[in-house]
Amino acid sequence: MHIAEGFLPPLHAVAWGAASAPFVVHGVRALTREVKANPESTLLLGASGAFTFVLSALKIPSVTGSCSHPTGTGLGAILFRPPIMAVLGTITLLFQALLLAHGGLTTLGANVFSMAIAGPWAGYGVYLLLKRFDVPLMVTVFFGAFVADLVTYCVTSVQLALAFPDPGTGFLGALAKFGGIFAVTQIPLAVSEGLLTVLVMRLLMQSSKSDLVRLGVAKLSGRSGQGERKAAV
C-alpha cells in the first residue's frame, strides 16, 4: 500500500522525488546496457516486471484486520541487481498512480524510494550476505524477497512519520503509529511474497537454468546440478 495522492506535504514530495530520480536514471542506463549486452535477457526482464505487476495487484488480508499487497521486487533484484528494479518498480507505480488512483504522482518519488529502491537494495543485500555463508539458494531467495517486501513498508512508515510527527511524542510516536499500520500488516504478506518468489525461482531453475547461471544466481555444479553432471559423464 503506497502513500496516497496529495498525502505528503509539497516539500517532502519534492525531496523524495529528488532522492529517487538519480536511482531511476541510473537504473534506465543499467537496463539498456543489460538488454544490449544480453538480448536473451529481455524475456526474463519482462517476466520480472510481470511478477511485480501481479504481486502488487493482490490485496491480501492480514493479521491486523486490514489489507495490503506485496511488492514482488525481490525476484528482479536478485536476478538483475537492484538498479533494474528501480525502473520496473517505477513503471508499476506509475500504472497504479495513473489508472487506479492508488499511490499518486505527488507521492511517486517517496513510493519509488520505498518500493523500487530501498526494498530491492535491502533484499539484495540480505541475499548476498546469506549467499556468502553458503546458505542454500532457495533460503537466500526467501529471505531476500521477505526483506525487500518488509523494508519497503518500514520505509513508508518512516516517510510518513517524518512528514507527520506526533504532536506529543514526535517522530518516534508517529513511527510507532504508522509502523503498526504498515509494517506489522506486512509481516505475513512478506512471508507470502518470500514463498511465491521461491516458487518462481524453482520454476526458473527448471526452465531457465542456463540464464540463472549466466546471471550468477545458480551454479552449474550446484545442488540441483546433478542432471548436468550426469549429462557430462
Binding site: A4, L44, A47, P61, G65, H102, L199, S207, E228
Partner: protein, 122 residues
C-alpha cells in the same frame, strides 16, 4: 507415482500462501473493527488526519475509477497482464526445452538447449 516431488513442493508453497491469506479472515482478526479488512493506505490517511487535523491533501488523482467495482476490475487487469506475461515466458521456455529434447531424440545429442533439458530432469 502421480505427481513428482517437485510438483508436490510447488503445490505446498501455493497452499501455504493461500493459508496465510485465508487465516486472518477465518480467525476473525477483523472483528471489532468498524470496517474490517480495509486497505492499510486508507488507515494511514485516517492516522494522518488524527495527527494533523488541519492537513488537506493538496493534489487529487488525475483519474479516479468511478466505483469500487471499476477499481477492482482495473486491479484484476493489472494482475492478469502480469500473469499473462509470466505464463508466456514459461510457455516459451517449455517449448524450447521440448524442441531441444525432440532434436536430441532425432539424433543430434549436442544441442544448445541440452543443459536446460538436463537441469529439468534432475
Amino acid at each position: 507415482m502421480g505427481m513428482s516431488r517437485n510438483t508436490k513442493i510447488n503445490g505446498l508453497l501455493l497452499l501455504l500462501v493461500a493459508a496465510l491469506a485465508v487465516l486472518p479472515i477465518a480467525l476473525g482478526m477483523g472483528e471489532g473493527k468498524e470496517e474490517p479488512f480495509t486497505g492499510a493506505d486508507a488507515q494511514a490517511e485516517t492516522a494522518i488526519t488524527e495527527l494533523k487535523p488541519d492537513y488537506e491533501p493538496w493534489f487529487s488523482p488525475l483519474y479516479e475509477p468511478p466505483s469500487g467495482e471499476v477499481e477492482s476490475a482495473l486491479f484484476a487487469l493489472q494482475a492478469a497482464l502480469g500473469a499473462g506475461v509470466l505464463a508466456y515466458y514459461f510457455g516459451v521456455r517449455k517449448g524450447r526445452r521440448q524442441g531441444a529434447a525432440l532434436a536430441a531424440a532425432a539424433g543430434a545429442p549436442d544441442t544448445a538447449g541440452a543443459s536446460d533439458t538436463a537441469a529439468a530432469e534432475s
